[in-house]
């Protein structure tokens, strides 16, 4: 058997990869935005919100953090239709990513909120702000700034996890590689290209989050 790499064989399939990159970016951006929003909400409930809701959020966080993403995805895509909730593969994939990221982001953001000095809450209260106003205008932004690097890493992990969505026929980068290798049997080449695409996307995502960070948190705060 002749052994050799032939990346030329992939030339015809460039559009397939381009589409795949688009879908992976869409999953990451939509899933990431909604997931972080869910995480902020859950972190608010766990630190400031109604006491009744706290055990519910804790249960959600523990359930998600201790089960594999693949099973969560299959449960949503294959399991939920049998109780009457069915959705397309893209919706299922995004829902799974949001639920997954929401749980991790909740714990990360909560750590950021809990690191807020007491004085900040007291200062907010002394200005006659409600607890929610204090959270929204005083606490949240510095808390996010504190944990921004951890949140970025988690987002990269979630993007890598999105490779699994190819299993429910979401046409992302992994799906593209699977498709190509089933056509021309150049599996190794296809997966190397896919891996490099993920690597490049991860670098871009980190840069993007850094830029977003500097835009969101313009003032460099002195170290306490």
């Amino acid at each position: 058997m002749a052994v050799g790499l032939d990346f030329g064989a992939l030339a015809d399939y460039v559009p397939v990869f381009v589409k795949g990159v688009g879908v992976t970016v869409e999953l990451t951006v939509v899933g990431g935005t909604l997931g972080i929003s869910l995480g902020v909400t859950c972190a608010w409930v766990k630190t400031q919100g109604p006491k009744l809701l706290r055990p519910v959020v804790s249960l959600y966080v523990e359930l998600i953090r201790n089960t594999p993403f693949l099973i969560q995805l299959f449960f949503i895509f294959f399991g939920l239709p049998s109780i009457g909730v069915s959705m397309g593969e893209m919706e299922a994939a995004i829902l799974a990513m949001v639920i997954n990221l929401g749980a991790y982001a909740c714990e990360i953001i909560r750590a950021g909120i809990e690191a807020t000095p007491r004085g900040q809450f007291e200062a907010g209260a002394s200005l006659a702000m409600s607890r929610f106003q204090t959270f929204r205008h005083v606490v949240l932004r510095p808390a996010l700034q504190r944990i921004w690097p951890a949140l970025t890493s988690q987002l990269v992990i979630v993007m890598f996890g999105s490779a699994v969505c190819s299993q429910i026929a979401v046409e992302d980068i992994t799906f593209a590689a699977n498709f190509i290798q089933s056509r021309n049997f150049r599996a190794f080449e296809a997966y190397i290209v896919a891996t490099l695409l993920y690597l490049a996307l991860a670098i871009l995502l980190r840069q993007g989050m850094r830029l977003l960070g500097t835009a969101l948190f313009p003032r460099r705060r002195a170290a306490r």
Binding site: M1, V3, E62, L63, R65, N66, T67, P68, F69, L70, I71, Q72, F74, F75, F78, G79, L80, P81, S82, I83, F160, G161, A163, V164, Q167, T174, A177, Q181, A187, F188, Y191, I192, A194, T195, Y198, L199, A202
Partner: protein, 219 residues
Amino acid sequence: MTTFTTWDIVRNLLLATQWTILLSLVAFVGGGVAALLALLARTSQNRAARRLAVFYIELFQGTPLLMQLFLFFFGLSLVGVNVPPWLAAALALILWTGAFLAEIWRGCVEAIPRGQWEASSSLAMSYFEQMRHVVLPQALRIAVPPTVGFSVQVVKATALTSIIGFVELSKASTMITNATFQPFVVYGFAALIYFALCWPLSKSSQLLERKLNVAHRNH
């Protein structure tokens, strides 16, 4: 037509869970050895060894595990070795686990005060003697909670090996679903089994962290 009771489903899922546990153990122990080697290279005086370790760690942390599984599965066949799914799964998981544990442990080694290194080198200890007798015993103590915590990631990561055809809990769930047409029940139980495996590990990691922190404060 055969009918399946819930007990049939659970029993078969539990049978498959053995393979999830075995693969997790293999990945964790093998990954531990790989991490130790990478750690020694990463913290050594030799520049080439350091670079190689950084490259290995960045490569496996910077790409999706699923891609690594595919590359092992198809890549080794390319050089003429016929790789069964379990071998590709074990190899990829060992190297993936090793890359993460190496970075976790490096943090622990670097948390050891410089004075400890200087003191031991003033006693004419070689690098390996310093590591073996002075640094690692202390680093081990702080390394326990994050290492136990990471084992949860390893157990969850084994689910991905179902995609290259290794039959463990996730693959078994898909197969049982195809036979019973009860995805809600099957995946629900699969999730509960994973939870039962992972949650005690998560909790003990948290408890250990708190316990070791208290000890630290009292010293």
